[in-house]
């Protein structure tokens, strides 16, 4: 029994170390962002919030941030609408070609982003389509679509069919059944899908580097480009802002989802 306890303790210490390895570097960036030195590296010379002001008033950085928001917002809204519709079909119907549909909609998840980036770029080139914000956003839509389908489909499957059947018996048609029975119950999951597909698109860099039009930077490609020269303190401040955003938004989303679920207990 004694050795048992020691084993569990040793494993606990190991787990703490590994979780520290996964989480600490990111916090170091946040701390470093408050450093006075313009070099963007240690040693720590003094505490200041100056670099956040620099980032928030930098035209190029703010433009890249706005680009990212625009692309991810449009892409996640489209992906959520298209993905939820197909998720409903997969969850509720046994139709001819269902297995193929399911496989096709999962496919973007299996293709490495590098290959997606190259292949879509090549198709646009072959068709003579110039790179634009629209083509970049289209790429993002297809990349995040599977996440919405997987998240939302699960929820649709857990809503008892009897609820919809009751609506039909009471005279509702299919569309009314979806609008008035299914959607209100599934909305937390759909919003979760929207949120996570937004974050996924916002963080994407590998394919975006291939797809971005000339002179258009998203915030991720902007950071990559800045790191190619010397690390300056603006990168750390920008990264710190992104970290706070990346952690803040999902946490906010989960809290909201919990509130909605509490009010809509099935």
């Amino acid at each position: 029994m004694m050795s048992n306890h020691i084993g569990k303790w040793a494993l606990g210490i190991w787990t703490t170390l590994i979780f520290g390895f996964m989480l600490v570097p990111v916090f170091i960036i946040v701390i470093l962002a408050f450093n006075e030195s313009a070099l963007g590296l240690f040693p720590f010379t003094g505490v200041t919030t100056h670099w956040f002001v620099v980032v928030l008033t930098d035209k190029d950085l703010m433009r890249s941030l706005m680009n990212s928001f625009r692309i991810s917002l449009v892409a996640s809204v489209f992906a959520t609408i298209l993905g939820s519709a197909s998720a409903y079909a997969l969850a509720r119907y046994r139709f001819y070609g269902r297995a193929v549909t399911e496989m096709t909609l999962t496919l973007p998840l299996l293709i490495p982003h590098l290959v997606m980036g190259v292949s879509l770029l090549l198709l646009f080139k072959a068709l003579g389509v110039d790179k634009s914000m629209t083509t970049l956003t289209l790429g993002h839509i297809v990349m995040i679509l599977p996440f919405v389908v997987l998240t939302v489909r699960h929820r649709f499957e857990s809503i008892p069919l009897a609820l919809e059947e009751a609506a039909w018996t009471l005279g509702a048609n299919r569309v009314q059944g979806i609008r008035q029975v299914v959607l209100p119950l599934a909305i937390p999951s759909i919003l979760t899908g929207l949120l996570f597909s937004f974050m996924y698109s916002f963080d994407e860099v590998t394919a975006t580097i291939f797809w971005r039009p000339v002179n258009v930077e998203t915030v991720q490609t902007q950071i990559m480009a800045m790191l190619q020269y010397e690390v300056d303190q603006r990168v750390n401040a920008l990264a710190a802002l992104l970290i706070l955003f990346s952690i803040g938004i999902p946490v906010l989303g989960l809290v909201l989802a919990r509130l909605v679920i509490r009010n809509h207990k099935v």
Binding site: M22, I29, F42, Y93, L114, V115, L120, L122, T206
Partner: protein
């Protein structure tokens, strides 16, 4: 009357198609057809002035087997991907197992901490190693201040920092997959082994570990595939001279603008992917690989 019923049945039958068609069109148009385009371009050639010669040739594919440089890059990349996968598996098994033996409350906390890094962008997580490993970074400052080394060690912009970055990026995914694998082990099976006289060590070696192999393999497969295609980590944490497969593709497309070669190199990744998935599916259930995404 009968006609209108038939009509409504036909419309009801078309309903699932109408719902899934837009998403399907997007995936076919923006993923499937581009992949086919890769296939076509890899059999074409490109003149020095950049014009594409649309006649069938095996020239591009021949470079894959003749060019020692490409073979060298591939070998380095395999080594990197395999090493990363191995480190993640060895280092990550313990924490994943620990998550299954703690109380549900701690399990929930650890699960949230495990998801936390995956919300932060790949680029930011990768760059976070620069102030840690750099010449004036935390590790070197600590080493020189404590007198362990007299001069700072070269920890950044080499293969060591690339491994650090990749393991840091992929470890949460590995732990999640092993954890999900371990969760699917029936507690009654463990209880049965204990009742039949196995001690905790024997139970782990002979029961728990073998049953967790599908999750572990899914994690390994994902880590291997994701490190195989990366060019972001070497670009941020490597030196300009270090070329891995992803960087080679990037250079070919973005700087040399050599479409046929870029298409061919991308297809090689797809073929490798198919081969790996095929091998995996021969022994284990392929749906295990997608399980981590669904959760």
């Amino acid at each position: 009357m009968a006609r209108s019923i038939n009509l409504s049945i036909a419309r009801a039958a078309l309903f699932p198609y109408a719902l899934s068609l837009p998403a399907l069109v997007i995936v076919v148009g923006l993923v499937v057809i581009p992949l086919l385009t890769l296939g076509v371009y890899s059999f074409w050639s490109q003149a020095l002035d950049g014009r594409i010669d649309a006649t069938f040739t095996l020239k591009t594919w021949a470079t894959l087997f003749e060019d020692a440089f490409v073979a060298g890059v591939m070998f380095d990349t395999f080594r990197l991907a395999f090493g990363t996968m191995l480190i993640c598996g060895v280092v990550g098994y313990g924490p994943a197992y620990f998550m299954t033996i703690v109380s549900p409350r701690w399990r929930g906390i650890l699960a949230i901490l495990l998801f936390l890094p995956s919300w932060i962008s790949y680029v930011v997580r990768t760059m976070s190693w620069i102030p840690i490993l750099g010449k004036t970074g935390i590790i070197n400052t600590a080493l020189t201040a404590s007198g362990i080394t007299s001069a700072p060690l070269a920890l950044l912009y080499n293969e060591f920092s690339i491994y650090m970055g990749l393991v840091h990026y992929l470890l949460p995914l590995m732990i999640l997959n092993i954890y999900l694998g371990l969760l699917s082990v029936e507690p009654s099976v463990i209880a049965a082994a204990r009742t039949l006289g196995a001690n905790q060590y024997e139970t782990f070696i002979r029961i728990i570990f073998p049953l967790s192999v599908p999750g572990l393999s899914a994690g390994c497969l994902l880590c291997f595939i994701l490190s195989l295609g990366t060019f972001v980590t070497p670009k941020i944490l490597g030196s300009p001279g270090m070329l891995f497969y992803g960087n080679l593709v990037y250079e070919t497309i973005v700087h040399q603008i050599d479409w046929p070669t870029g298409a061919m190199l991308s297809l090689v990744i797809i073929f490798l992917l198919i081969a790996l998935l095929y091998i995996y599916s021969r022994f284990l259930n392929l749906s295990t690989v997608l399980r981590a995404v669904k959760s």
